[in-house]
């Protein structure tokens, strides 16, 4: 059995297996650390910074940090909450996020985080960048207006032979997700479902489904993102 280490989050004593990532360790202790680019079972990359915490006084990402003995973590301070809120607001200002017409609305992790952090309006001006959509694939619809470049689809989706379906194309502010059209043309329904599922926003949408769940029954209609972690405590 792995060695158990003790550490603290906001002064609360926690225990976890040594080598666990802090977001997962916090979850087992009933503490929610918000994440966006992170996915259980996929190696973390720490790119969105929404899970920023202070560890022993230093700002770092909780998804890429492994717990160690005596670690002192600050998760809920005003400074950190505002930093996270600013990151969420930046993502809204940087893309074209038309929630009222988005199929993912109500199930969207970015939107859910904005609800949780009570974002009434981003503090940054909207950029209205020019972004493309791609509808040629038989099963998947890609709307790059909504992409937050979290790379979850790139990291998590491979076909049965381990080949990746998604990759980054271009560089700098023109960077975007591109689909391997040949591979994606023949994917199974299950893999297509999974690809749409790993997307935290509505950038990858399963075709022919649309607004499947009525308003009121969607994932984040009733309770905030992270509430399940906090209630399990």
């Amino acid at each position: 059995m792995a060695k158990i280490v003790t550490f603290s989050i906001d002064g609360q004593k926690c225990m976890a297996e040594e080598g666990q990532y802090l977001v997962d360790a916090a979850e087992t202790n009933g503490v929610y650390i918000p994440t966006l680019c992170n996915m259980t079972g996929v190696p973390p990359q720490g790119s969105c910074r929404v899970c920023s915490v202070k560890i022993n006084g230093k700002l770092t990402t909780a998804c890429t940090t492994k717990v160690s003995e005596g670690m002192e973590v600050i998760n809920e301070s005003e400074e950190i909450q505002d930093l996270r809120k600013a990151i969420i607001e930046l993502l809204f200002a940087e893309g074209n996020h038309f929630c009222p017409s988005c199929e993912q609305s109500g199930n969207c992790e970015l939107q859910a985080l904005a609800y949780r952090f009570q974002v009434l309006v981003p503090r940054f001006p909207y950029l209205f960048p020019e972004r493309d959509i791609e509808a040629s694939n038989p099963k998947l619809f890609k709307d790059h207006n909504r992409s937050i470049l979290c790379k979850r689809c790139i990291r998590a989706i491979t076909d049965e032979r381990g080949r990746r379906l998604f990759a980054f194309g271009k560089r700098g502010d023109r960077i975007g997700i591109s689909i391997d059209t040949k591979l994606a043309a023949n994917i199974s329904d299950e893999l297509a479902d999974r690809a749409a599922e790993v997307c935290p926003v509505g950038a990858i949408i399963r075709k022919g489904r649309g607004f499947a769940v009525p308003i009121g029954q969607r994932r984040y209609d009733g309770q905030p993102i992270g509430a399940d972690v906090e209630q399990a405590k």
């Binding site: 038309f98 009222p100 939107q111 609800y115 009570q118 972004r131 308003i215």
Partner: protein, 183 residues
């Protein structure tokens, strides 16, 4: 307590936000005890007849007339509220923000399915009575200072009610989880 004076308008909006104001149901009877409406589609007063305490703006700015009305609101209202996604970020009209205005007009009046056979002289609206369309749809805070933002499409009736009562009674706004919605 003197009644607060409220003005409302819909710029490039669909009046959904105004419908949501009415969606406060019987609380509208309480509201009418607290406020008096001035320029608003609710009472059909067309021009400001006095200075208002609260101006509520639905919709973004898509035309020159929208800009004119918005500036009037800023001039005549002590507190300005952006109500709904369109006022806050342009909303669905802003979907055209990356399409050249010529293309938009040609699609609407020359090449669209319902217009291409019905506009033989290929006329684009050009009467000087018609407001000019802007190059893109502007969130209202890009043109005037906005004091408060209430998101939603439309904003929930409870969000509007909580905001108005907090503002009128000078207390902190109640923001439970269910009231903030972007759709």
């Amino acid at each position: 307590m003197d009644k607060k004076i409220v003005a409302t308008t819909s710029l490039a909006g669909c009046f959904g936000c105004h419908m949501s104001v009415l969606d406060i149901d019987e609380r509208i009877l309480d509201l009418i005890e607290l406020v008096e409406f001035n320029k608003s589609p609710i009472d059909d007063i067309k021009t400001f007849t006095k200075h208002c305490d609260i101006g509520i703006v639905e919709g973004g700015c898509a035309t020159s007339e929208n800009v004119h009305v918005l500036k009037e609101f800023r001039k005549n209202c002590s507190t300005l509220i952006a109500l709904g996604e369109c006022a806050i970020m342009g909303g669905l009209p802003a979907l055209r923000n990356n399409i050249p205005i010529t293309e938009c007009l040609e699609e609407a009046y020359l090449n669209g399915l319902t217009t291409k056979d019905n506009n033989p002289d290929r006329i684009l609206p050009n009467d000087e009575e018609i407001p000019m369309m802007l190059d893109r749809v502007y969130p209202i805070r890009e043109l005037v200072k906005v004091d408060f933002f209430l998101p939603g499409c439309p904003p929930t009736a409870d969000l509007i009610w909580n905001a108005l009562t907090a503002l009128i009674l000078g207390k902190e706004m109640d923001l439970p989880y269910e009231v903030i919605r972007y759709d």
